[in-house]
Structures are given as structure tokens and as C-alpha cells.
């Protein structure tokens, strides 16, 4: 089973990279952008029977720093159906 972990900075935490991207977009004359926040996408291929609690634990223990980051778990279709 493939899962995607989206790691994003919490609201209120300054995002210097997002700001730089925002400035770069403006310098390319894209003017309608109000805000940019940059995050990470981590894709895991795990056993189909892995417990949700274990996936959460992985996020809390390593993949996200919960002092500054939130995480969201998205489960993709199992490998067999995905490849069909």
C-alpha cells in the first residue's frame, strides 16, 4: 500500500522558503498570489496490513517535528489495483 505523508508548517510559523517562493513568483509578474507555504511530501510503500496507529507513530516520532509541523496521511489504492 502506498501512503503519502504531507508535512506542513503550522499556522503562525513563519515560512522563509514560502516567502522566497512568493517573491520569486512576483518577480516573474505573477501578481495574484496572496501567500505561499512550502511543505514536504513523503511517500511510503508499506505492508497492506499496517495499522493506522503505527503510521501515525512514524509521523510523530520522526517524519514531522510536531513543535512546528503538522502532518496529514493520505492512503493511496493498494498496489495491485493501482497497477491494474
Amino acid at each position: 500500500m502506498k501512503i503519502r505523508i504531507y508535512v506542513t508548517l503550522k499556522n503562525g510559523v513563519l515560512d522563509p522558503q514560502g516567502k522566497a517562493i512568493h517573491h520569486a513568483l512576483e518577480s516573474l509578474d505573477f501578481n495574484g498570489v496572496n501567500d505561499v507555504r512550502a511543505g514536504k511530501l513523503i511517500e511510503l510503500d508499506v505492508d497492506d496490513n499496517m495499522a493506522d496507529a503505527d503510521i501515525e507513530k512514524m509521523c510523530e516520532k520522526l517524519l514531522a517535528n510536531t513543535v512546528i509541523e503538522n502532518f496529514e496521511i493520505e492512503k493511496l489504492a493498494a498496489k495491485t489495483t493501482e497497477e491494474a
Binding site: 513563519l14 522563509p16 516567502k19 516520532k61 520522526l62 517535528n65 513543535v67 512546528i68
Partner: protein, 218 residues
């Protein structure tokens, strides 16, 4: 005084740290590989050096903070052994949770490498007793992720509990409340972004870092 310096893949200030510790203690520090499970017995200080452990993958200090030796470091810290984390070592201490907050990308997103003016905010800690309060000192910085962040309540408690050891005289990286170094509640763990071990000899261009190591001896 017995000391140890942790070594991770990607550490690059471990030898500078060892020289600084040997200069003041007169004894060679134990160099401890991250994969070991135990620290040497009878340690007085553990130093977590600067560098780019694990290439800063995932987050600065994230991988190192989950390595084998860390449980022993936490146990030692809880027993009162002094723990000094510099630069990447500070990032590792926050990732472990021995110190609050997190070190984020510098506000201007640039790598900053220069001498930084610091103000000594707390001059009675075990790490800073050889300084005087509000003294201005110059210590080199070299980091990309030195922008200290913690929520307002945590920052307030750091101020109230007098746990801010050093502040930037001019904020160079966006750190909350100009914080350059913080202490844990019991005062035996210090994390700081500037590199005191790079300012212990006149040949370094300054010796303001030496007194931090001398403080540890008293």
C-alpha cells in the same frame, strides 16, 4: 573533568570541540560514535558538535536525534551531566526534546557565516559563569537553520525562568526574541547556534568562546 564528544556521519566540528575541551580540561575527550549504546562512565560533560549530521536530511538534526547513543545522552542529562550542543548540536537537542522549540531556516534563507555579536543574558549558569551579565561578546556563526522558534508561552517561560543564555545583539537570522542559546530547566543542558569552540585562541581572531569552556571547570 571527563568529557565526551559525539560523532555523527557529517559532523565537522567534532575535532574543534575536542581541542577546546582538552585545552581547558587538560584531558583528551572520549570521541563517541553515534552507533554506540553507552557513554563512558564518570562523564562530567557531553558535547554535541556542529556539522551536518546525516546531510541535514528530513530536518537538521532529525536523524541524529534518533540514533543509538541518544538514550544514554538523555539519561546522562537527567542525572545532571552537563550537555553542550553547538549549532547542529543545538538542533539535535531540540529534536530530542531536551530543549524546547525548533531551529528553522534563517529568515533571509541564506547561509550565514560570520562573527556574530552576542549579549550574555544569563551569566550565572554553569556554562556562562565566567562572563558578566549583559556583556557583549563576539562568537562565529555558520548556519542555515538557526532561526529559533517556540510558541509564545514557551518563550515567556524561557524569559521568566532566566533560561536564555545568549541573545544576538543584532538579530541575524530571525530568531524569536533574538535567542542564540537556551538552557534547560535545571541548567545543565545548553544549546546555542554560535560556535564558542571556534573562538578559543588568538589565532582564531578572538577568544570570547574560551570562557564558556572555563565556566564548565568552575
Amino acid at each position: 573533568m571527563n568529557s565526551a564528544v559525539l560523532v555523527f556521519p557529517g559532523s565537522n566540528c567534532d575535532r574543534d570541540m575536542a581541542v577546546a575541551l582538552e585545552t581547558v580540561t587538560g584531558k583528551k575527550p572520549h570521541m563517541v560514535w553515534h552507533g554506540d549504546s553507552d557513554l563512558p562512565d564518570n562523564l562530567d560533560i557531553v558535547a554535541i558538535p556542529g556539522g551536518f549530521s546525516y546531510g541535514d536530511y528530513l530536518r537538521s538534526g532529525a536523524m541524529a536525534s534518533r540514533s543509538n547513543i541518544i538514550d544514554s545522552v538523555v539519561q546522562a542529562a537527567n542525572k545532571g551531566v552537563k550537555v553542550l550542543g553547538v549549532c547542529n548540536g543545538f538542533q539535535i537537542l531540540t529534536e530530542i526534546g531536551l530543549l524546547p522549540g525548533a531551529l528553522m531556516r534563517n529568515e533571509n534563507i541564506e547561509f550565514i557565516c560570520k562573527d556574530a555579536a552576542l549579549t550574555v543574558d544569563h551569566a550565572s549558569s554553569t556554562f556562562t559563569s565566567a562572563y558578566t551579565k549583559d556583556e557583549s561578546i563576539s562568537i562565529p556563526v555558520a548556519h542555515h537553520d538557526g532561526n529559533y522558534f517556540a510558541d509564545e508561552a514557551t518563550l515567556d517561560s524561557l524569559e521568566e525562568e532566566d533560561r536564555i543564555a545568549f541573545r544576538y545583539t543584532t538579530n541575524i537570522n530571525g530568531s524569536a526574541r533574538d535567542i542564540a542559546g537556551v538552557l534547560n530547566v535545571s541548567g545543565n543542558v545548553l544549546g546555542m547556534m554560535p560556535h564558542p569552540e571556534r573562538a578559543i585562541d588568538t589565532k582564531h581572531g578572538g577568544t570570547d568562546g574560551l570562557r564558556l569552556f572555563e565556566s564548565l571547570m568552575s
